[in-house]
Amino acid sequence: MVANSPPDLSLTEWVVLGLLAEGPAHGFALARQLRPDTPVGRVWAVPRPLVYRALTRLEHAGLVRPLGEEASPDGPPRSVYRLERRGRSALYRWLDTPVDHLRQVRTELLTKLVLGERLGRDPTRLVEAQESIFTPLIDALDDPVEAGADVVARWRSEIARATARFLHGLRAGVCSTAVGVMVAVALLAAACGTSKETSTPPAPTVQPSKLQGDITVLAAASLTGAFTDIGKAFEADNSGTKVTFSFDASSTLATQANSGAPADVFASADEANLQKVINAGNASEAAVFARNRLAILAGKGNPKGIRGLKDLARSGVSFVLCAAPVPCGKYGAQVLQKAGVTAQPKSFEANVKGVVAKVQTGEVDAGIVYVTDVKAGGDKVEGVDIPEADNVIASYPLAVLKQSGRPNVAQAFKGYVLSSIGQQILASYGFLPAT
């Protein structure tokens, strides 16, 4: 294998890889970003089936990998994909590699410029390399008007000169990159006779990453899966950062945060526990980033035939709850009260994972947990819905802690959780959106 040459991928595959470099996404979302009327799509539009095919090929090539599945309101579950380290380095090499032919300017070169800009990369290297390839080519062209050449030669010549001006402009920084690319799009779209775009807003640019340092995030036990993924995606998008998690009951974490635990961010499964930390002056500016509902967790196949909360009170049915100070315990008691069930649990577990473990091992028939834990519990358990009227909605807020040693990284992580990438990962674990 030649380490320095980019893998042999089609332009479509490179475009999909480039979009994944902005953060994990599922095929449907990628296809939406590649429709003809979008910032990337107007340079290289890709129909949805081809996006899926590209994802499959990229996965086989080991450049991306699926993070997990997300339920979809209609149709099969969607896989969220994420860029592998190899994928990123291959992409960056490709982005710096010039094209060989003038006819690739409209397609490949422009795509590289647009994707590179979205990733906050400096185009100088690519532009200089491109000029060194094209200059001799352009110099060799005759003046078509003098030579009385045919229409194709005239077109070629005009495009070559326009390209030379375009590259020169980019390199000299006469105009900002963004404007340069806009001009090029309009110019080349006109030159090539394709449809004109006039009302497209400028592409949102991703600021180059300047974040450095390690942060520790205290997060509710129910966030274990989702936050682990968000942390990985955050690290991949901000090389130079590292996110470490401590997952436990929110109440335990609140106590730790208030005892000056060296942590940077606190994500709680309820507002009360974050409020304790805010009241103690150790955090401010909480933002709700997800919501969750409760469900009954039963063993595989639901051997006791539990259909609702009332069944927990049946003789011969045993169940456990979280302890009262823990959010899931507080919520659990609330739903039982709403449903008018007075049955006593076998035990009050220290956190929600304790409840899941007791059901998984078959020590009890049921437990009251979050909907997301049913999903995370695997194939040894199954969920039983709690009707809307009896259910409670748990709000998950997070805040940067005052004692944070890296407030800018912590703030960026908070923003990342609230961003569409973070929200997509949370949704893939069954969390409800914050609003």
Partner: protein, 261 residues
């Protein structure tokens, strides 16, 4: 005991070690809510947890004496294949994280466990979430402390006393009861107290195997852990109780052990 001045080289690390043990206790005392201590400790949930802790830890110790002393004696006095492995296995709970011990107990004695499923089927007995379960968890974690102390004692005993008793016509049982046990007595007592102290402080295996239910399986350490989340002052008060009881016992034990009255 030497009356000389101890060398400075030993004093400095010793002082650090002492401070290392004393400081956390001082921290606990410093944060103790003295003004409300009486009220906190008189609360019914606290008394329930304390009573349960005393009952379970003492029962666990009795169980450990009943089963552990014969085990220690066997390990010390008899050669049989697999003895070294057995010795290693009996001390395993000392190094195993208690939570792992709790999970292992679930897989053995739980409703679906190796033995547990038959207990349920034949006798209708379930151990998790019961006081018996809490006692079992404490015994599992604490018994090794008794076994290794007792085994060391049996091994170092001068066997000639026992031989003499045998030549004078004493039966095996009489020798064990009248000669071996009295000679090993102080060590057994020390082991039993260590075992009891460990059982009193047991947390991980108990919460994993027996769960947490007030009056049934919520022992003092579990109450402390959960109180820490709602009322840290109460947690400190509860910890003080455990501390006072443990220190009192350990101080008494240490004097006895060293033979200094």
């Amino acid at each position: 005991m030497s009356r000389e001045r101890p060398p400075l080289l030993a004093v400095a690390p010793a002082a650090i070690a002492a401070a290392f043990f004393v400081l956390p206790l001082a921290g606990l005392l410093y944060r103790a809510p003295w003004s409300r201590l009486g009220r906190d400790l008189g609360a019914p949930e606290v008394r329930t947890a304390l009573r349960l802790s005393l009952v379970t830890s003492l029962t666990a110790t009795a169980l450990a004496l009943l089963l552990g002393v014969p085990l220690a004696w066997t390990l010390a006095r008899h050669r049989f294949p697999g003895r070294r492995l057995l010795r290693a296995l009996t001390t395993l709970p000392m190094v195993l994280p208690p939570v792992v011990g709790g999970v292992a107990l679930l897989y053995a004695f739980g409703r679906r466990g190796l033995l547990g499923q038959w207990l349920v089927r034949w006798f209708g007995i379930t151990l998790p979430f019961t006081t018996t379960g809490a006692i079992l968890a404490e015994t599992f974690v604490a018994m090794p402390f008794l076994v290794i102390t007792a085994e060391a004692a049996f091994r170092t005993l001068d066997q000639r006393y026992e031989d003499a008793a045998r030549t004078l016509g004493a039966s095996r049982w009489t020798v064990f009861r009248r000669v071996t046990l009295p000679m090993a007595g102080p060590a057994l007592l020390a082991g039993a107290v260590l075992c009891w102290a460990r059982a009193l402080g047991e947390f991980g295996a108990t919460i994993t195997f027996a769960g947490n239910y007030p009056g049934r399986t919520q022992t003092m350490p579990l109450a402390v852990y959960l109180a820490l989340e709602t009322s840290p002052e109460l947690a400190v008060a509860l910890s003080l109780v455990l501390l006072v009881v443990s220190v009192a016992v350990l101080v008494g034990l240490r004097d006895r052990w060293l033979g200094v009255a």
